[in-house]
C-alpha cells in the first residue's frame, strides 16, 4: 500500500474510533466536518489525536481550508 494511502487509512480509523462512526462509512473524499458532525473545537481534538498518533507537529494554520480526509492525509504525510 502506498505510504499516503496507509496514512489516509490510519486517519480514517482514528476518526471512526474517536467520533464513534463505523469505519466503512468514511472515505478519503468525505468532508470530515460534515461526515463526523464536528465543529472546529472537535477538529482541534482530531488534530491532537493525529499529532499524538503520528508523533508529528502539524500547525493548525496548515489546515486552513482543509475539509477532506485525503488532503488532511497529505498534510500529515508532509510532516512525517
Amino acid at each position: 500500500m502506498p505510504a499516503q494511502e496507509e496514512t489516509l487509512n490510519r486517519i480514517l480509523q482514528l476518526a471512526a474510533e474517536r467520533f464513534q462512526i463505523p469505519r466503512g462509512q468514511l472515505s478519503g473524499d468525505d468532508d470530515f466536518f460534515e461526515k463526523l458532525g464536528i465543529n472546529s473545537l472537535q477538529a482541534l481534538d482530531l488534530l491532537t489525536q493525529l499529532e499524538n498518533h503520528f508523533s508529528i507537529e502539524l500547525p493548525d494554520y496548515e489546515l486552513q481550508g482543509v475539509t477532506d480526509f485525503r488532503t488532511l492525509a497529505e498534510r500529515v504525510d508532509s510532516r512525517l
Binding site: S40, L41, T48
Partner: protein, 267 residues
C-alpha cells in the same frame, strides 16, 4: 465562607487545599459574570489563605479548560456604547481581570492548573498565573488574539515570557497557532503530562504533597522564583487598549460572532 457555587465557577476549601472549578458552557468563556465570580473567589482565597497550602484550578467542561474571553459578550455588549464609553469599558474589564490574575499569581500557596482540551487566550492566561500546569494529552495551548488584530490582554505575553524561551513565545504569538500538550511539556510550559482524563488527579497529588511542607518555606521559595512582571503587565493593558480602538478589530470581532461554527477556533 469557604465554599461557593456560582453560575460560571465554584470553589471550596478542604484539607488545606482550595479547588476552583470552572463550569460555564460551552468552554468557560470569561465574560462579566465570570469576572465577578472570580473577584469573589480571590477575596475568599486571600481571606482564607492561612488555612490553605495549595490551590487547584480545573474545568468540568468537556471541551477544555477555557476558550478565553467571551468575545460574543464583548462585541454585543459594546455595540450600544459610544466610542469613549466602549474604550473605557474595555479598559475597566482588563484592569479588573489583571487585578484578579495578579492576586492568584502571587497568593502564598502552591497553585496548580489542571488542564485538558482547549486552553486558549484568556484561559491560557489563567493557567499561566499558576505555579504549575498539569496537562492531559488532549490539551492544546493557543494565543489566537492576532487573528482579531489584538494581543493577549489578560497578562499572557509577560507571563509566557516568564516561563518560556522567547523563540517559542514569538512563534505562538505571531502565528496564532495552537500547540499540543506534548510540545508544551517539551518546551517547559507543562510540568506534568498525563493521559486523557487524569490531569485533575495529578494536580490533586501535587496539592496534597504541598500540604506536607512548611508554609513559610514554600512561600519564600515561590517568591524567590516567581516574580510578577508588573511593568510589562501594565504596558500590555495600554497596548491592548490602543489596538482595540480600531475598525479592524471591530470587523474581526464581527466576523467571529457571525461565524456559523459553534466556536470558530480554527484559523
Amino acid at each position: 465562607m469557604s465554599s461557593f457555587q456560582g453560575k460560571t465557577l465554584s470553589f471550596s476549601l478542604a484539607d488545606e487545599v482550595f479547588e476552583l472549578r470552572l463550569h460555564r458552557q460551552p468552554c468557560n468563556e470569561i465574560g462579566s459574570l465570570a469576572l465577578k465570580e472570580l473577584e469573589g473567589f480571590v477575596r475568599t482565597l486571600e481571606e482564607q489563605a492561612v488555612r490553605a497550602k495549595a490551590l487547584v484550578v480545573h474545568s468540568s467542561m468537556e471541551a477544555g479548560f477555557s476558550a478565553g474571553a467571551d468575545l460574543r459578550e464583548l462585541y454585543f455588549g459594546l455595540q450600544s456604547l459610544g466610542k469613549a464609553e466602549r474604550n473605557a469599558g474595555v479598559r475597566d474589564f482588563l484592569e479588573r481581570i489583571h487585578r484578579v490574575f495578579n492576586r492568584i499569581d502571587q497568593v502564598p500557596l502552591t497553585t496548580v492548573a489542571a488542564v485538558h482540551g482547549v486552553v486558549f487566550g484568556g484561559g491560557f492566561e489563567l493557567a499561566l498565573t499558576c505555579d504549575m500546569i498539569v496537562a492531559d494529552r488532549t490539551a492544546r495551548f493557543c494565543f489566537p488574539e492576532l487573528r482579531l488584530g489584538l494581543i493577549p490582554g489578560f497578562g499572557g505575553i509577560p507571563r509566557l515570557k516568564r516561563d518560556l524561551g522567547n523563540a517559542l513565545v514569538r512563534d505562538l504569538l505571531l502565528t496564532g497557532r495552537s500547540i499540543n500538550a506534548g510540545k508544551a511539556a517539551a518546551a517547559g510550559l507543562v510540568s506534568q503530562l498525563v493521559g486523557p482524563g487524569h490531569a485533575l488527579r495529578a494536580a490533586r497529588g501535587i496539592a496534597t504533597q504541598a500540604t506536607k511542607f512548611d508554609s513559610r518555606a514554600a512561600r519564600e521559595a515561590k517568591r524567590f522564583i516567581k516574580p510578577i512582571p508588573h511593568l510589562e503587565l501594565e504596558r500590555e493593558i495600554e497596548t491592548f487598549c490602543a489596538l482595540f480602538d480600531r475598525p479592524e478589530v471591530e470587523a474581526a470581532l464581527l466576523k467571529f460572532v457571525e461565524s456559523s461554527q459553534v466556536q470558530p477556533y480554527l484559523p
